[in-house]
């Protein structure tokens, strides 16, 4: 037994001195090809199909769907929700990351876990939580309603659910970055006489701006694309509480495949714009980004 294992180890050792990996050229090519085929089938092909289906009957049906009042209202609602949820999460995310990275306090690990919660919870549950909180059978719902405030099955509920599911994006992007940067710059600024706000605006924020921008882009993409949580709290009222992802489902269920894929192509377009923005940032400011991480 011992002898056998020894010879096996001896056989492989010359190969490992030639290359960092023991795999031969063919294996590496095979792995690469496998990865590329996988990417093409699971990412590229669906993306191409979305646009192919959307334009299957030419431009006219495509634009008919886009200018339909229900579609326009869905686009408007999606943009509105993102326009509220993203800035709020920007503020929450920076505040949370700031607190976690720059201060020591009790319950820090718990707070970090809490921030990750929306990542680990199924979006359906995120939606149902708001039904339980603000539904007609909850404590809060009827009380708010007596003041004429509607949360569930109205725009505020959709915004709340979106904020919940997109909460970690900004904070998760910033926490490691800020932890890596440490508190040296801030301490220097404070010792030179800057007050808290000045330190934040002139020292911390410039240091984290690229990470922040990444976080905002990802947060925005998810805010516009969220389906599960929003589906639960929306009530699916056409022209009022239908976001773009929900409208895609409705059109598909109405056998309007061209319409469904037309709206889907708009969403895919938004995702592509996000990716392009991210890539441009990386190419143009790659140096600055690397530098800010090196602090």
């Amino acid at each position: 037994m011992v002898d056998l294992s020894y010879t096996a180890a001896a056989d492989t050792s010359p190969a490992s001195t030639v290359s960092a990996t023991t795999e031969g050229r063919t294996t590496r090519w095979a792995l690469l090809a496998l990865a590329l085929v996988f990417l093409a089938v699971f990412l590229l092909l669906p993306l191409v199909l979305v646009f192919a289906e959307a334009f299957k009957r030419g431009w006219a049906p495509y634009f008919d769907t886009i200018i339909d009042p229900d579609t326009i209202s869905a686009i408007r609602l999606t943009l509105l929700v993102a326009a509220i949820a993203v800035p709020l999460n920007l503020v929450f995310g920076v505040a949370a990351a700031w607190a976690i990275a720059k201060f020591e306090f009790k319950g820090k690990a718990f707070l970090t876990t809490l921030i990750d919660l929306p990542f680990s919870v199924s979006p359906v549950i995120s939606g149902l939580v708001y039904v339980l909180l603000f539904g007609a059978n909850s404590v809060l719902g009827p009380w708010l309603k007596s003041y004429g405030i509607e949360i569930l099955f109205a725009v505020p509920g959709i915004v709340l659910a979106t904020i919940f599911v997109t909460f970690p994006f900004v904070a998760r992007e910033l926490i490691p970055l800020m932890q890596e940067q440490g508190t040296g710059d801030e301490e220097a600024a404070l010792s030179l006489g800057a007050n808290g706000w000045q330190t934040f605006w002139y020292v911390t924020l410039p240091n984290i701006k690229w990470g922040l921008l990444y976080g905002v882009l990802l947060c925005n993409a998810r805010a516009m694309g969220e389906f599960g949580a929003v589906s639960v709290v929306s009530g699916h009222i056409r022209g009022l509480t239908n976001t773009m992802p929900l409208h895609v489902e409705i059109l598909y269920n109405e056998y309007n495949a061209v319409g469904a894929f037309a709206v889907a192509s708009l969403l895919a377009g938004l995702a592509l714009v996000t990716l392009v923005l991210k890539t441009i940032l990386e190419i143009r400011y790659g140096h600055a980004i690397a530098a800010s991480r090196g602090h």
Partner: protein, 342 residues
Amino acid sequence: MTQFRPRFLLAGLLAGAVQFGILGFAFADTTILNVSYDPTRELYKDYNAAFAKHWKAETGETVTIQASHGGSGKQARAVIDGLNADVVTLALESDIDAIADKTKKIAPDWRGKLPNNSSPYTSTIVFLVRKGNPKDIKDWGDLVKDDLQVITPNPKTSGGARWNYLAAWAWAHSQFGGDEAKIKDYIASLYKHVPVLDTGARGATVTFAERGLGDVLLAWENEAYLALDEFGADQFDIVIPPSSILAEPPVAVVDGNVDAKGTRKVAEAYLGYLYSEEGQRIAAKHHYRPSKPELVPAEDLKKLPELKLVSIDDPIFGGWKKVQPEHFGDGGIFDQLYKPGQ
């Protein structure tokens, strides 16, 4: 290091949000919300436009009708959870009963408030088969022939699927002279021919029409015609069996909500107009069976041939309150008969 200017960014985003807000909430006229089930989308799209026109001519007021569609049970749940429906137009009496029981927003005697048990239109279950009917399916007995696959959704989750099940039961009841053992054998055998139980009626239609599974789809009459329109009449045929079930999708005003919103008058008129000549014609056009066929020109009724229809209130069923727990409750007859993979 360049200076970050978040103030401009925030100001821009805020301005954007305010603008969207103003555009989004610029409603001035009366608005009512109709919470309905899946297959009625096309029907109410037409009817809402017709009613808005009628209301404008009658009162001079502009009314906007919002619509929400989904599975009937799910929609009832949303209204119970607070979805602010003025009227509900659902697939099953038991769904409206659930709203009445749980919220008290609908009077318990709602079913008597409008003609024909508050069902302005009825429907039935028919067969959609592949073009030319290659498996020669004509009646319920043909569905259990060898090598034949039947597509029908899950009666535990789908209202339409319950009607399918009950239609089959009603046929078997008259076929076997009420012999319960034989009826159950037939139903068990029928569901052995079902390769996949979808959760809803639309899902089952897509399985049959787009995925190409199965030889026959048990479908709402209006869904069958819709599939014909959408996927092409050259692909499918509709077979009307000699007997089927009488489905009465009910409608009701949600009293609690209309009184709070002050929309009772228009909500009642909205449902009432379904029984008018125009409402009945629109229903027939969308392949629902009008409850007042005398108001509809004969040519519009041609596609809705007479057949023997058994009501849910027939003694063999005894109404939804009895059927629901007996057949579809946990451990009910369906659970006993449906054994997947056997």
